[in-house]
Amino acid sequence: SLTPPKSHRATLMASPPTGPAAPAGLESMEGLALDIIIAKAGARPAAALACASTHLRAAVAEDAVWRSFCARDLGLDAPLDPEDRPLPSFKDAYKVWSESFGMYPLPLVKRVKLFWSSLKGWISENFPEALRTLSKGASEAQIRSAEDDLGFKLPMPTKLLYRFCNGQLPFSKNEDIRMAPLGIIGGYVFYNYNVNVHLSSLEQMVEETKEFNLHLEEQGLPIGPNLALVASSWYHPKTFLLNCSSGDLYVGTANLSAGEMMPCVPESLIKPTNSDMPQDGLLLWLEEHLRRLQNGMIKIRPLSTSRYICLYPEASPLCSSAVTNGVKVRASAVFVPEHPRRGHLGTHLYSYSIRLSVPEACMLGGVYFSSCQLHSRHWIIRCKDTVVSDMHGEGVIGEHPLLLPGQDEFVYESCTPLNGSSGSVEGSFTFVPGRLTQPEGKPFDVTVAPFPLEVPDYIF
């Protein structure tokens, strides 16, 4: 609200014009109007005003002025330094942040700061064991040193990302087993194929990029654009590469050793040279990943005794859901670009996750059953709209899950190749009320609603 405090108004009303007219303008201005002008002008003009005269300096020294600049320019709502240490005033905070980050456009600083604080907030709440794997921010000197080692510059948004957090702790023989599932990008598991993507530190980036280039050289392949390896999977290999000239982000296919990779961020969004708000593939990719974590499209799942960020979609339209006679089936797929493909170019591999449960009760023709058991499956796979596979089989992944009402979902994963860029899977399961060894009624079919197989616009 703009109602000025009483003292300001009293000053304005009570002072009669004295002697020759005082110069109208900045010097004779006080209180509310001056505060508003300073607030609208911004931090740089405010700093200039502070040097113009003692009266203006006093107006600018109000910490309220700097509190509002901190909020507006940096998204900072408490007087903290870049390492979260408290400072005596917002004015000090603005100064410290300007000195530390002034070489970047402030709107971008605010955006990257918001990204990291939101991601760390989500991780604290949902995946706290991963928090300790996130290193503190790198310094400008560390970034320059990495660029020198790489032989090329990193795009500005990526540098800022690393200023706030120098990736995750690298693979270390002592810790590898416990840290493996803690990738902040996460992954998937099907059969014995396990992927979990971690964000690399600058040091790891340099080391892996050099190895990759050496490998290309040894094969007589051209090194080409300035590619930095920014994220990679523990367990089975999966690598993300940032083209530091164009800002595009790529994921290596199974033929990465021959230089084969796919874009994993829509190219139209990449704006590496925009002066106010440059955005590169890494920033866009990470922001999209955070959105999916926040809106529940992807979630934490158990993995034997630990947990990991699981990339199978959990919500429509990518995850289908159907309930038949009380038996609920949810199903979704992920695109697996790095898996060695059987067959020719144009074959993609998808892994899907099927979740079975009886949320309330299993009912058939007015009769409730205490359990039901899966006997067989009918699976239809389409490429575009053409059926390419229509098969029946016993059980699922060699099992016949027994479902009891109210229990946690029975989840299994499998995979399928697809000779084309998009398709879908649907089908049904035949269940027996009671148990297979002791049926309590006639078998019935449970729908698996169609779910898509598509190369997504963002690949994780």
């Binding site: 000025p4 009669p16 900045l26 740089r44 003009p45």
Partner: protein
């Protein structure tokens, strides 16, 4: 009593114009027009005045508690400050540098 030097007519005109616009009249003291609103063209022209008049308008807006006018006039002054050095600011706004005098006191 605050005397408005040359702007009684001008400031009254702002209030009339904003009151006669249905959207602005709905919230006369807080309405700020969008960039494609014809009222914006009026506002832009309204503040094309000399500095003395501009500061008089600020005073009047503050006294009369017309938030929209306060916002418009303060923003105009603020825009004039951007990109200027300390000396340029002093010149433009007739600010006396009392730092040197103070140092000797």
């Amino acid at each position: 009593m605050v005397r408005l030097r040359s702007s009684d007519g001008q400031e009254l005109e702002y209030v009339n114009r904003h009151f006669s616009d249905p959207a602005a009249a709905a919230d006369p003291f807080d309405y700020i027009p969008n960039f494609d609103d014809p009222l914006k063209a009026f506002d832009d022209a309204f503040v094309q005045v000399d500095q003395d008049t501009l500061f008089d308008l600020i005073d009047a807006a503050e006294c009369l508690e017309i938030e929209g006018l306060m916002d418009l006039t303060c923003k105009t002054v603020a825009d004039q400050m951007r990109g200027k050095t300390i000396e340029e600011i002093r010149k433009k706004f007739h600010v006396v540098n009392d730092y040197t005098a103070w140092a000797f006191e």
